[in-house]
Symmetry: T
């Protein structure tokens, strides 16, 4: 434990590290946008039945913000730079406020769309990290589990509306 230079996994592998920083940066923006979308949608909708969805989304705001902060911290640990707000560009066209504030189906579909995008993208990160960076991989697997469970919940909501001919 005395020689000055040592192999310390991903911290030494510059190319892979920069690739991972790039992946994490996009993931960071996805979570930030989701925070915005969930605040807006959880506040806007009306109705007794919508209460469940409001509470579900409002509860997720904290969770998604936490994911963003985890991504940011890991970017920093891998010698990257967390980007500023000018770099943000919105992509979740499917989660904009609907014309009619009781159109719950619109929101449910939007959430599934967003979560599907996250699930797909995080699978790519996990795959890339295999054998290269177990710490990042472990962190993303845990986040993936959250997103899968969430998507599953909203798929169940959608199925109900479909059964009633509302979606």
């Amino acid at each position: 434990m005395t020689e000055p230079k040592r192999s310390t996994g991903i911290l030494d592998d510059t190319e892979a590290r920069e690739k991972i920083v790039g992946l994490l940066t996009k993931a960071y923006w996805m979570e930030i946008e989701t925070v915005m979308s969930y605040i807006a949608n959880s506040t806007n909708v009306d109705g007794v039945r919508a209460q469940e969805i409001k509470e579900s989304l409002a509860g997720d705001v904290q969770e998604e913000l936490g994911h963003a902060q985890q991504f940011a911290a890991r970017i920093k640990e891998l010698y990257g730079v967390v980007p500023g707000s000018l770099d943000f560009s919105a992509e979740q066209s499917y989660l904009q406020p609907p014309d009619e504030q009781t159109d719950i189906v619109h929101i449910i579909k939007g959430v599934i769309e967003a979560e599907s995008g996250a699930v797909e993208y995080y699978n790519q990160i996990i795959e890339f990290c295999e054998g290269k960076d177990p710490v990042t991989q472990d962190m993303v697997i845990a986040i993936l589990a959250d997103e899968e469970g969430h998507r599953r919940l909203f798929e169940g909501f959608l199925r109900e509306y479909k059964a009633e001919g509302l979606a």
Copy 2:
């Protein structure tokens, strides 16, 4: 308490209500952007002295998010619609990550700039609400107090750096 139509303050005054919704919407976006800027800056900076600023900003992330959620809830209560992520456009050019991650003065100045903008803007809202909407006015005064205290703290930071010839 039995006649069907009643005067219930701001809820009846359509024109003023829509004006206030507009003001709150801009305030909402200012807080959301501040959340992004503070996550990025609190994660990026390096150094012992920067620890104070990191912790201060990281603690504010929750506070600013809370402000955003208060603005969103009030928009809804005044029959407005919380906007979606596509409406977001970044303005805090002064809070982008500096080239050098130990350039703390850059961050301090950026925070003062951002807080000054908020202080000025919230004073306008308070003035406009006078005699029209005491609930919004009360809420914004409380938020204003937070921002003033925050700006004051960073002005003190800046003064120190100036005294040392670093700013």
Copy 3:
């Protein structure tokens, strides 16, 4: 700070003080009646969808009792007397138990009626206190904010039922 007689705001202005005590006394009874109405309605209704409304009302019982206690304490501070139970006379005819315990629309409308009455009445108190009694005014603004948010929530419930042709 030694002369025996001093101007201490509302405490010296007998006429205004007695007027405010009168206003607060009526507000006190409105909150007490609301406690009764919400216990009855939150207990009586049946049905899955009614669960949301039951929980919402049951949670409000504590909040409204707290309002009543705030009004009582302020009456006392302004040298008034909190009235006894013989002075109570019910007014919320629109919040009596419906004939059919699954008639949720009846309850929703009753709550909106009650909250509208409170919002209107508290705006009067706030207006009257302007420049006379800032402590009472401040207290009532905070209570007004609760009632406005509550009315808005039940308006959203009503809209959903209307959209389904049930109200």
Copy 4:
């Protein structure tokens, strides 16, 4: 455990069940009126010695409200309907605010009167439920224990005032 019809105690005995609902409804109103009386009296009285009584009554407000909610829930479980505020009629003439706000003996006697009424009445309910409805009986025994302890405390207060020739 498969036959469709079964004897399930009080739920099958319509006559007794309706009688119990009637008893519980009166008990419900007694507790609601006590809530009003205790808020008023705990707020109105003045004086150092009165502090003990103020705190004692203020603490009981929550307890009595809890009793009312237990009665309401049991009424519902026995297929009754919790009555609305129009059915309320005040009976505690002995707990109205005294002419002189330092007349503590008036309040102490009023509380003993109220608690004695409750003790007597709850003994009747317990007796009636014997062998018919053990769940209601158990609930009322627990409430009775609270009321007996409370009456005993105020009898001690009264004895002291008598010993000093003040009552």
Copy 5:
């Protein structure tokens, strides 16, 4: 307090004690099976409206497990033996997963069936213990109160579905 042999209620009455152990053993199995049924059903169902029922059942899993543990502890105190898993035999055919995971009415009816069985059976135990074992009787009365309240809740759910022509 010095003679070696003493009458200590149920602990001396071998025949009654063994009878009670038998009754408690069956009750123990009923609660264990309910735990299984509620985990399965609370996990399987889909849909926004089903959320209420999922949460209600999930919350009951702990409660029912607690009942089972109370029964087990009392069996032991009465010198009985808590049976092993080989003695378990399922009886709640009405609470098996439905073919269609959105068939909520199936679950509601199953829960009412299960709770009715428990209510009926616990009434028998209470009756048998009368004058013989007040400790067991008291424990079962408390559990009975839980089950009655629970059945009542689901009856309300069912009524709503019936009103909508879905059950």
Copy 6:
């Protein structure tokens, strides 16, 4: 609720009430002595195996003191007087410190003796209160449950020592 004299159960039945006060007074002393015995025995014993018993007894000190305080409060509520320390006379000869501080069997037998005495005696009180004083009866049943469970635990301890030929 207006006539001056009313039947309020046990509070009116002087003879039974004084009898119960006598029973409760003896029970009070039994619990106080148990507090002493458990402090002494839980402190004195030595050994790894004794740790379980030390902790068990030490935990019971609070519980038994709580029983004593419940008995004292009820004596007061029934218009009795809690006796002073001069009235105490020790009876638990079987719970005195053994000659040898590792003689755990001595302590186990002593505890069983003490708990058996309590179980027998509390059964008498429960029987006497039947139909006369449900509040006292309910309180003693709850305390009896504690004592039965406790005796059962120590019987199990004893059986183990017997199985090993140590008792």
Copy 7:
């Protein structure tokens, strides 16, 4: 939000700001002296009846210290300097320890005197801030509410003593 100079309410209005700093400085000293007076009086007095007053004052020590800290923080935010201990000069001659430590009336009158001074003075600050500095105004209104309630409580204490011919 980009021009360098902006109107930010009170922070720009030098004259008013300095006036407010002066008002807050005096208020700061009033609160500090009250801390001293309440520690001394809450510790010195004797007697059962005095217990209420001791506890009331002791509880207020924290509250008054908190007010002082709020005043200090606001002074700083308005670019003032919190004065050092050499600037302190005592004024509450009416709250010095009485010759006789059971002279409670002396203390009660002293507290009313002190609170009246505060109430009067804080009304002046509130009036001055109107339309100039809503943040300070809001803070002082909240503190005023505390002081008014406190004075009211001690007036009630005094009335009792007067009724008994002791004051």
Copy 8:
């Protein structure tokens, strides 16, 4: 992030997903049976030394139930159905209550048997999930760690009994 169809790992691979659901279903039943076995055994055993084992098992009841609920939730997320109680069939013949309630060695061996079965089986699941379903794999590894630690503890217990010639 806009095309409708995307590769989302295990959720797209029907064959593997159904295989994993099958594996998880068996694991679910193993945990449920363990809950039963641990309640029975932790309640039945007697003796000082058995206390350790009782507490150890009683503490594990919650843990094992939690495992079962995790398995159930994952089954649902993978589009499977959690089975009903009729599908349960007991397998832990080695954990049935022994003839002699002080036969601790029997229980220890039974627990080791059960934990060994779980350890072996969960290793199979982990292996199967490799490269296919990282979320399930991660969850099972965490549960495996619990079971290994538990088995290890009871092996130590057994060794002690063997050393004393009791096993």
Copy 9:
């Protein structure tokens, strides 16, 4: 640190140790008797003014029991034996229940008597331990501080009653 025999302060000084055990044993009994006296007196007294004393004594029951347990633990650590209940002999004749339950002066004097005895006695123990057993000395000083503060409080109570000519 390797030689078998070592000087370990009081643990080696048999004569002093046994003397201290004797002193602690008497102190133990004093605290136990105080527990009894405070339960009795805190329960028996009547009256508003007595509430202060009731609460004060009731709060002290736990404190005094804690002292007794500290004495017991130290006796054990010094190789002594905590005595059994047969060794108890009451001494606090001045704390027996008075003939008249509103005779508060009787109780106050009794408490002062008891606390004075403890203060005097603990001073002896502290003096004896000087230079011999710092651990016991430290423990007794802490307990002495509690008793001194307690006696002082009741002396203040007595003075008030004397000032009113009641004592």
Copy 10:
């Protein structure tokens, strides 16, 4: 324990007791002045590096106030009188706000000066109490420990500034 007069340590030694009251009174004023000085200095200073000192001093405000309250309580227990605010005279000339709010060295030196004064003075009290009043001595030793640690911390701060040539 029955003779009316007893030796109870310091409480009997009038001369020493009055001397100690005098010492404690001065200590009381030292702590009160420190409270003032620390509020002022912790609020006034500016700068990042000053944050550590601000937080350190702000945290100490509570601690020093607690010391003052301990001194006050002990003065009372020793039959002294806690002085009123007119007796206060400031001595900490070295802790007045500096001309320049970023002059941290001024504050650090002032704190060391104040703490050194306290350390020296408390050593005198400890010495005087030796063999006379162990309770006061124990209390002052504990307070001394706080002050020593505090002085040490600020000496370290000073050394750093000296090392940088700033002090």
Copy 11:
């Protein structure tokens, strides 16, 4: 689940298991030494700026002790023996107290050295465990994440000092 012999992963693979025990034993000593080094360094350093580092290290003492305990528990589970204190031999020459207690750069470099050693070594363990012992691997990945984040923080500290020409 009935055959006596089963493959249970790492527990069966003696050679790999012993290798892992060896790796974990060294890791255990590294963490223990880090505990010592961090206590010493967090206590020794002086200065305002050093406060951040003191608090950072002091907080890590608990974390590193926790790591040591995790390593110890896993060694035991893999049938190894946790070594005794005689086996300890210090290696962190770079973390000994510097000659000058304000030499913070020395400490920062020492911490980076220590953390780099840990990061490198834990990467080796993770690699070795691949496919052999997923439980150990998972545990070490989690610990690795802590160490990476910690090293990154101190690298940032070092960079600041370098930028100021102090390192």
Copy 12:
């Protein structure tokens, strides 16, 4: 309180202070070694009866670490330097892991040996500090009390094993 040089007890007495630093340094190492020994022994031992000892030692790890941190802080306050890990040299040969992991007697004797060493050594420190450094003395007395109680507990364990002929 104004002269520059002052006598501040131990802080001025260089010779005694350096002696105490030396004593505390050795005590610091004793506690650190005990931490190591207790982690190893609490993890290594096997068996049901050993559970008590494992838990007892594991709980002490935190306590002993706390002692070490107290010694370190006091060394610093007395101007000493806490030594680095290279200065550590193990002495507790009697607490190394035994050859046989079920040899509990070995561990018990080792703990008694270690605690006896500590008790003896801390008595020396207390004696040396007498009249020189009351703060250190007080701190060590409190730690001594912990160690005495601990040794006493393990002596009781040993006696039991001796009684069974196992030690």
